[in-house]
């Protein structure tokens, strides 16, 4: 079967860049976030990620989802920051009350690690909702063995399955008159601890059927396989990739040498 270029009609119609370029962008940003563990760098990377989201995926639906995710994670971010500030000690003492003390190192770590978590949530928005088939195509273009490509893509495919499973369980709870949103923190904790195991188990059992259907389709039996469409790089994808590579090398060189 002759491979054809696909006119992206669904998800990719709003994705300006090729998935390979997006993966490189995401990897570079998260790597920079780890290398340069300063508050200023984390803030700069967050702004850059928001800018990328605005440019690459200008969809109202995605922004609403990002907003929702940020709202959900805000408590975790704040808790993480408070714990880091209170329990990580080092450097100058900024404030002290008995055994409780806040140090400059604690503040630095607390703020930067919380910002990094926010950055990951924002930048992950670029990779979500992309059909898993596009991941297989992207990895294939990088000459990664098909089995590994399929495995990685399946993990990405598992996220929406897991999400759907969680929504179904939440609806089942609602139908019993139990509302998570209006429950107390103690009750929420009880609900989530009761939900987590069945939700994961049900999602895994769906994956089990997927693996059975793979076997039935004689997965890996033939050395060659065809693809419905190809995801070719456009000229600006190539330019961006080269620019990222050169920029990254220069930045690391300037910092370390």
């Amino acid at each position: 079967m002759k491979n054809t270029n696909r006119k992206h009609k669904n998800m990719d119609s709003s994705t300006l860049l090729n998935l390979r370029t997006i993966i490189i962008l995401v990897s570079t940003i998260t790597t920079l976030s780890v290398i340069y563990n300063t508050i200023l760098m984390q803030i700069s990377l967050i702004f850059f990620s928001i800018f990328l989201l605005l440019v690459i995926q200008p969809s109202r639906h995605r922004f609403n989802r990002l907003k929702h995710r940020m709202k959900m994670i805000l408590r975790v971010v704040i808790s993480l920051m408070v714990f880091q500030i209170l329990f990580r000690h080092g450097g100058e003492i900024i404030w002290q009350f008995g055994t409780i003390k806040i140090t400059s190192l604690g503040v630095n770590y607390g703020v930067s690690s919380s910002l990094r978590l926010m950055l990951i949530v924002i930048i992950a928005g670029l990779l979500l909702d992309i059909p898993y088939y596009d991941y297989i195509l992207a990895f294939r273009s990088w000459k990664i063995p098909y089995e590994i490509s399929f495995l990685v893509a399946s993990v990405i495919h598992f996220i929406p399955i897991f999400h759907k499973q969680f929504i179904t369980s939440r609806e089942a709870l609602n139908l019993r008159g139990i509302e998570i949103s209006t429950s107390t923190l103690h009750k929420r904790f009880k609900i989530f601890s009761a939900l987590v195991f069945p939700v994961i188990a049900k999602a895994i059992s769906e994956v089990k059927y997927r693996s059975i259907s793979l076997e039935l389709r004689a997965f890996r039996l033939y050395p060659e396989r065809t693809f419905i469409y190809q995801a070719k790089l456009k000229w600006y994808d190539i330019i961006i990739q080269i620019f990222i590579f050169i920029g990254f090398v220069i930045l690391v060189f300037v910092t370390y040498f």
Binding site: T168, S169, E171, A172, L173, N174, L175, R176, G177, I178, E179, T182, K187, K190, I191, A194, L195, F197, P198, A201, K202, I204, S205
Partner: protein
Amino acid sequence: MKSIRIKDLSFAYQLENPIFTNASLELPFNEITFLKGANGSGKTTLCRILSGLEKRYIGSININNLNFKPFSFTERAKSIIYLKQEPLSNVVAATPEDDLTLWQHGFDKHPNESSSELRKRVMERLRIKDLKDKPFWELSGGQVKRIGLAALLINYDKYWILDEPISGLDNTLIRIFIEILEERKTLGKGCLIISHKEDKILNLIDKSYLIQNEHIEQIARKF
């Protein structure tokens, strides 16, 4: 008599694709109402609207002349129970025993002797006693469906909204289900049944409706 009254209901997931346009229907709580329609006609959507899972509708849904829309899930769950078509989607806990306990007590109260007695009776009737501690993902679709029916018996006094309740059940269990419906009918307790298998419960049905062309129309009963 207590009833759910739907008037001029309009609903669409996407604006260009309406599911209902000015549809009306009355569901008396003492009658068995049967609803059918082609695949994708909106049968499950109607159940979702009635159970409060979809709230972006236009028109009015009243229960005993009270507007149903602002009702919370807690308030709705006091008078109606909705069982979804996919058996596993009605399940929250890991085992049938835990799940039925959740139906009875939620996360608030501790189970007592009378409630565990009721669970035992219900499980015996539906022949799921041996499955009570088995995790759901090890049960077959039909077995999970039976747990759903057990949940109905736990919520006996509520109005039942059932989406394909007999699909996946063997003949013995269909007979048990019909017996349960007959019992309820004599007690003046009704339900809404959505199914493609009308013939199995034909004698019990009080009114039949068809969802077609975005409307709900009453259809004459076949004898």
